[in-house]
């Protein structure tokens, strides 16, 4: 498992492909699930033109690693890769990648979703958005209703 916190843009698909080629045994995984979080040009009803992402070096990596280990304890995970940016981020750029390799797809889906949800809950990052009204710290993330409601599939309003 590998956790990277870096400044500057990255290509999540190239990173995933390269990591798989370098680190995964051949023919053992049957499923790969990736989540890529990208910067939208809107949030909470405001247009957002740019974002700065602050973090707590050291603590951030430690808590992402803990979350990955928890996922590997809960599900059959062959390998996992998390890459998260900090610093200045432009609209449409990827912010975070979570990739999980497993023999079975249900495990890959569950583990990937667990990692991104608990990363968002516990990893010390803070978003500061630039809008027409100036800069503002984002005060809370949206929750994944699928986690608290045990995977209900109702469309949220």
């Amino acid at each position: 498992m590998k956790v990277i916190v870096q400044e500057g843009p990255f290509d999540p698909y190239q990173v995933t492909r390269d990591y798989e080629a370098q680190s995964l045994p051949v023919g053992k995984h049957g499923a790969v699930v990736t989540f890529v979080g990208t910067m939208r040009d809107f949030n909470d009803g405001h247009n957002v033109s740019a974002m700065f992402l602050e973090h707590y070096p050291g603590m951030t990596e430690r808590h992402i690693e803990d979350v990955c280990q928890e996922a590997a304890d809960k599900w059959d995970v062959i390998d996992a890769l998390v890459l998260h940016r900090h610093g200045d981020i432009s609209v449409s750029e990827p912010i975070v990648l979570v990739a999980v390799w497993s023999a079975h797809r249900a495990h890959a889906f569950d583990a990937c979703r667990y990692i991104i949800n608990y990363l968002k809950e516990r990893a010390p990052f803070w978003k500061r958005e630039s809008t027409a009204q100036g800069q503002r710290w984002v005060e809370h993330n949206t929750e994944d209703p699928g986690v608290n409601s045990q995977g209900t599939k109702q469309k949220s309003a």
Binding site: G37, L53, E54, H55, Y56, G58, M59, T60, R62, H63, H84, I95, V96, I116, L119, K120, E121, R122, A123, P124, F125, W126, K127, R128, W137, V138, E139, H140, N141
Partner: protein
């Protein structure tokens, strides 16, 4: 004992600084007591998160020499 205190995001804006180095007297000092020392005028905000040596904890946590204490708002990464 000597404690490093760090502030992140809007907590740094509020404090007007990113870090404090604090010398404290006494056998047992809690995070809450440390907060009164660095911010005599203002109570600890209700939703602030606390980490000691990069692990989450609460205001009743007793500190020891060399600890790094951090105060920050709810996290918004991912």
């Amino acid at each position: 004992m000597n404690i490093t205190v760090r502030y992140f995001a809007n907590m740094r804006d509020r404090m007007g600084r990113a870090e404090d180095s604090v010398s404290l007297e006494g056998e047992t000092v809690t995070v809450e007591e440390l907060w009164r020392r660095v911010s005599p005028q203002q109570a600890l905000p209700a939703n602030v998160l606390i980490a000691v040596n990069m692990e989450y904890t609460d205001a009743s946590r007793a500190l020891k020499n060399g600890d790094e204490v951090a105060f920050f708002p709810p996290v918004t990464g991912g």
